[in-house]
Point group: C3
Chain length 302, copies 3
């Protein structure tokens, strides 16, 4: 497992006003079985109130992905959420603050975050995203590095990064591959919130399903069918497709771009402002995250 060395520590102060949910990793990712052999698993992200991609989610994700190395029992993993409004929200912006996360090493957490994105591409297990709520920022980056994605009617996708002043590192280049440069540019540059039907039309997700139940059935059927097949064939297919993934150098270039941007004073200030006004996980703010960031940073009187 390659660990990225990020040397990013944004120098501003911030009053941490939100409740810290503590170290309850054991419950962050809830595992269940899709088929009898449990070779197809369902992993449900549970980090109320908005499935913020915080230290606990990062650590739990890493623990789970590491557990999938060097084993042949698990063939397929579906990631869903137990929150009807959010598949997952952004990375906890406190990771980029000087105070950081109490009791945690922020640099290590960010390295683990990027290592997780890496593991999604390289782990010889088939990863499926099942989304019927919002997937912003970090959530979307993880989805874009899974093998496939299916949406329900309430799914929304988006990256607020351009509005904040950074880039969707880890997701942007995958999105270009999936939907082409023109549409990726539109959604990324405008920090757009993209509906499930539009995401399916352009190829951001494989398909959209009319209800949450229809989505669940479709995903379970596909996961269970794939899990019937020889693991060697699944691994070879994933490896073959990976040959056309954006090269590692592109990801590293994006990471360098991200770090350069996040170190700019104005952009560090933007992050701080968003943390304050959103309280980092207020549901009303996060429901229209991208639009609210635009409104707060650029359109409201200071």
């Amino acid at each position: 497992m390659t660990v990225f060395k990020t040397h990013l520590k944004i120098s501003f102060f911030l009053s941490l006003t939100y409740f810290w949910p503590g170290f309850v990793e054991a419950q962050i990712l809830k595992q269940s079985c899709i088929n009898e052999a449990c070779s197809a698993k369902r992993v449900t992200i549970s980090n109320p109130p908005v499935n913020l991609w915080d230290a606990n989610v990062i650590a739990a994700f890493n623990e789970f992905l590491v557990s999938l190395q060097d084993q042949n029992e698990t063939k397929v993993v579906v990631f869903d959420s137990d929150n009807s409004d959010f598949w997952a929200s952004t990375l906890d912006f406190n990771l980029f603050t000087k105070l950081g996360i109490p009791g945690r090493n922020g640099t290590t957490l960010i390295d683990t975050y990027f290592a997780n994105l890496d593991l999604l591409l390289s782990t010889p297990v088939i990863f499926i995203g099942e989304i019927n709520g919002r997937a912003w920022g970090a959530g979307d980056e993880h989805l874009l590095r899974m093998d496939m994605r299916f949406a329900g009617p309430e799914a929304q996708f988006g990256a607020p990064e351009a509005a904040v002043g950074v880039i969707h590192v880890g997701g942007l280049q995958q999105l270009v591959k999936l939907i082409g440069s023109g549409r990726a540019a539109e959604y990324m540059l405008a920090a757009a919130q993209v509906s499930a039907s539009e995401a399916a039309r352009v190829g951001w997700v494989n398909s959209v399903h009319p209800t949450g139940n229809a989505l669940r059935k479709h995903v379970n059927d596909i996961a269970a069918r794939i899990a019937l097949f020889p693991i060697e064939a699944l691994q070879a297919t994933k490896a073959s497709i990976a040959e056309q993934a954006p090269p590692r150098a592109a990801f590293e270039n994006d990471l360098a771009r991200f770090n350069q941007l996040a170190a700019l004073p104005q952009i560090a200030a933007n992050l701080g402002t968003i943390l304050q006004v959103s309280k980092n996980e207020s549901k009303s703010f996060e429901e229209n995250l991208n639009n609210n960031i635009v409104k707060r940073l650029y359109q409201e009187p200071n």
Copy 2:
């Protein structure tokens, strides 16, 4: 013409219960002219009952593709089928058995099979697939290496390889280029049977047409129009597009993956089972080939 050296000989025995159609290559590919100059040709695959991609088809295809080298008379070739149910089915699995094909050298035939796939990309003639029946496995691999594909309402596309335990070598990486990694992963990993309308929606084919006649007219019009133009411009356009094809190394990697997989005992056994239950070309089995393979290998009591 590069010939791939495959050293694959699956070691199991099999009773060859099906009728061997003999060496009737002359009738396998029926040629006709689309325009007066015959610079646009139609080639109709005819190998009843399911257009199995067997030794005769491989040899006839190679003879035809070789005839197109170093000539300037033929600008466009449309490949269709005289079988309303099948554009073409899979490769004759007997090629991978120890007995092989009576009177033929299996290794040479497999080399020729892959050489044909190569020739579709490199021959300076425009190849168009016109599909209004099933295109499974080998059939789909050939289509994916043509310059464009048009479908009628009865077209279906699919690769049973993952269910058998191998990969769609020669087609998989082209499919990733055409429809993106997410959808290619879904269809390949689940050994899906994909309808004409879904194939058009995602880009597997250029477009779908409401009837067989409408399909025929559309393809004839396009082929005849292209054939009007200077051959040098057609060749230059094909060469330019070919610069973005998956690199040859990717194809060779996939071929190595295929050979590794096909040598595994369980997967060799799967091939043998399918040969026995399908009688290699029973129409009822091949009509729902992928689903029947899944049913027979994984869901029926042994």
Copy 3:
């Protein structure tokens, strides 16, 4: 700015029968502001009667693109047209004649033409095409190298190059990236005229809008929103996406192909014939340019 050295001078004579519009560059590109800060600009192409991509347009485009280097005021530029029938037509074919353009150096102009295509990809400004008329040849090449494209109901796209006997250098490989090799081959090889709705369906444009006003509002909203964001983030996003653009070598290969083709006697003759019958900018001929070229060169008695 890299300047391409083209050594192309087609050797035929031609009576220049059309009115030469003169050196009125100042009015060729009309600039206006989309937002208050004018960080989002609108540039309207105005070269009646068909927005022929002639010496004046080439020079004005170059002057404008050069003005965007090394500055941070302009973040987004939208290119539209004041001609309801044409976004832009082809390159002035007189550039390829021996007489050339009176008072201008044809070779320099062609070099500038290709330099402009290059600048669209490399200039750290976001370029948006707003199209509600025809975009043929040169017009389409410029659009395909912008960051995104939006269409109104009257938009049409097409490249007549294959019918003439050359290739859509500068546009072809971008189109393959955007819509896949199969559809790009179809449209380029058949010199097709593609409607706005089909262009949106396949990804040639980002989306199609029901009226010119709806198109205008959509583009203004996106441009103004993007222009709110830190310029560093916009530049980084564009740079990240550019990593997946066709490599420069592919463009140079296409340019070499183009020059080889244009030097062939038959193809030089085709250019001459088209110049004569179209009077280079007759509206009735240019409205169905590709189809009229096909009709005139191949289907009418000489």
